[in-house]
Amino acid sequence: MKRIIVAISLLAVISGVAFEVSSAEPNLRSKSYVRVVRDRNLLSNNETWVPFYEYVDASVFDIAVQGLSVHFSGWGRGDITSKGDGRRGGGELDYGYLKWHAKKLNFDLQAGRQFVTGGPASMRGEYVDALNIKSDLVWGLGVEALAGSPVRSAAGGRSGDIVAQGRLFRRFGKSAEAGFSYSNVRDDGERDHENVGFDLWLKPSAVVDGNFYGYYDIIGENFADLGAHINYSPSKIPWRFSAGFNYITPADLLSRTSIFFVFSDTAFSDTSFNATFLASRFITVDAGGSWYHYSNDTNAGRFGADVTMRYGRHGRNNVGIGVHRLNGLVSGITEARFYDRHKITKKLSASGDLYGYLYDRSIRGRVFSFMAVAALNLELPRGFVLTGSGDFSANPYFNADMRGLVKLTYNFGGSSGVF
């Protein structure tokens, strides 16, 4: 009990400090969580774990000179009760970088921890401690370059791990962009991944856009990732369509320092189609499917549909129902879901979320699992939001699993978005 009081006091102090800091220029956002988890695994006995989390992210613009900004996000955990694995806490800097934007040539420089969002290096979505430069040149040409070290190494520690990537692109007005890229990843000084790639974005009309890309693996001598996505959003009919194709060689995503990549060259393709019907301003029907084909002539796939509806004054309440099916290689899963989010008052809302799963083959003697989640969300003065939730589930691993969460969200600063 004493530790809970200490944790709550800490929460209050952090909230106070956060609020004080926010009165200055920075855009500061923070979330505090207290969870209560019956953390049972296959090895240990029942255990109640009560961790406390603090997530903070901030951005400060126009430091010293116009266009210079700093951005960071991170979290820390303190355990009110022991987790049982010997760790009493944890934390991580998610991202943190200094950015300089110059209007001339639309120049961007980012130095620090950041997420790789484009080019072959983005195949294995990861954070890198890197220097990233992007600039327009002349005649619609532009260049991007990134060099640094991955935050999470593939194997054997980070010393000598390097990610380097370059991209040359050309814009064609507001309707097309084409790029060529090269990336080189080294793990402990050895060639881990080496790719060349192309990407093409087309928007031939206001209602159609397409993305096409391919990343060729120089070491494996095949395409590691090849994809195309086309989106059609007509303005005169209430329909939206998208189609996609993706060809992947999974072994090429593995580290070349891993012995496993020499065992397989199986590739697979994913062909998908989705349609959305905007039945009214408040009702949306979404349906689609994906078909997986493997180069050894096996097939799998998934399909499903969701109906979402907004109701009540100004459509401020949401209700949704969905059914999805996975025809997997070793088994199949049928999922049904129902949720409702209801504004009780202007500042108080309640939500319920119910999931049910049916497994084609029994898992640990069960073919069915379900989960029910209930949450209350209360908007408090001065930008604070308090959320409380609880969930109950029964699945092949737990007969009755219960979790609780209390979250305090605070959002200060000038212009800020959903975080």
Binding site: L42, N211, F260, F263, N296, G328, S351, G388, S389
Partner: protein
């Protein structure tokens, strides 16, 4: 006992908030009869042409000057709904020459201006996705894009391509931490655990993913590998006791029989990344134990080639 007490305290807090909120509610006001009876806008909205914000407007006029006392309850003080919109009535009235009807043409039907009316002039801002020009503080608004910007048709698969092209478009509504909520795999909590109230969002690791992940990974391991390296599989499987030495031996019967449909070689050729999710743990745990060079069990698939040097560490493990 502790949970019961906490639940009671939480229920009391919620009730107090509901009561407090209900007290703040005001009686609805209808524009319709006022417009029908040619009541001048300025009569109630005096000073609007100098107003630098959308609301509030103080109502100084006494309703009883028109209505018989006792029949109508007059709204008091700041009766209008608060809004986080960045808007200046002063600037707009200067441009319309003081004509309220330019924007408020639907007021006789109690209809306030919405996107449609604003975009009659602000179409370029809308097309350029300059949402924050009007919606200054999106974080405090419970906004869900309804049509044009709604994340429909397989958005989960498509969003990467859109975000990689122009992050500034996403930044109109989302802070960067919104991305790291899901993409930072070094986080302790998954996004469904962190945001149980965000029921309208579609998240991969929702509900009973613990049970589903084995079937999902065996069907499309590349999807897992796009975010998770195989070390994260090993760490969790070890922690949870899913190892060959435990009672939860994961392989089916016939795993070591060459003629069996469940033969491990067949599965390995199908998806080696799946094997790596447990066995990438040193030479004692992986394929080299049996498939060493000279053992007669060539691990390379037919026609396999690579430009990697044979002096590389990975080759030297066998050769």
């Amino acid at each position: 006992m502790y949970f019961k007490r906490s639940a009671i305290i939480a229920a009391v807090i919620v009730c107090l908030c509901v009561i407090a909120d209900a007290k703040e509610r005001v009686k609805k006001f209808s524009h319709k009869p006022h417009v029908a009876n040619n009541v001048s806008c300025i009569l109630c909205h005096e000073g609007i042409s100098e107003q630098e914000s959308l609301v509030p407007i103080k109502i100084d006029v006494e309703c009883s000057s028109c209505h018989e006392s006792g029949k109508v309850k007059a709204p008091k003080g700041e009766w209008a709904p608060t809004s986080a919109l960045v808007f200046s009535h002063k600037n707009h009235l200067e441009r319309t020459g003081g004509d309220c009807d330019t924007c408020h043409f639907g007021i006789s039907k109690n209809k306030l201006p919405g996107h449609k009316e604003c975009l009659a002039c602000h179409n370029k801002d809308y097309n350029d996705l300059k949402c924050r020009k009007c919606h200054g503080d999106l974080g405090s608004m419970n906004l869900v894009p309804l049509s044009d910007y709604s994340h429909t048709t397989n958005w989960m698969a498509r969003h990467k391509l859109i975000a990689s092209k122009d992050r500034a478009v996403c930044a109109q509504c989302h802070e960067e931490s919104f991305c790291s909520n899901c993409h930072n795999i070094r986080d302790d909590m998954t996004e469904p655990q962190k945001s149980p109230e965000a029921v309208e969002r579609r998240m991969i690791h929702r509900a009973d993913y613990r049970t589903r992940h084995a079937i999902e990974a065996r069907t499309n391991s590349a999807l897992c590998l796009r975010c998770h390296d195989n070390q994260s599989c090993i760490e969790c499987h070890r922690r949870e006791g899913v190892t060959s030495s435990a009672a939860n031996y994961p392989h089916p019967a016939g795993w070591m029989s060459a003629g069996s449909a469940n033969f491990h070689g067949r599965v390995a050729r199908q998806d080696i990344a799946l094997c790596a999710s447990c066995h990438e743990n040193g030479t004692a745990t992986n394929c080299i134990v049996c498939h060493r060079s000279g053992s007669g069990l060539n691990p390379h698939p037919p026609g396999w080639s690579t430009s990697i040097s044979r002096s590389a560490t990975v080759c030297k493990r066998c050769h």
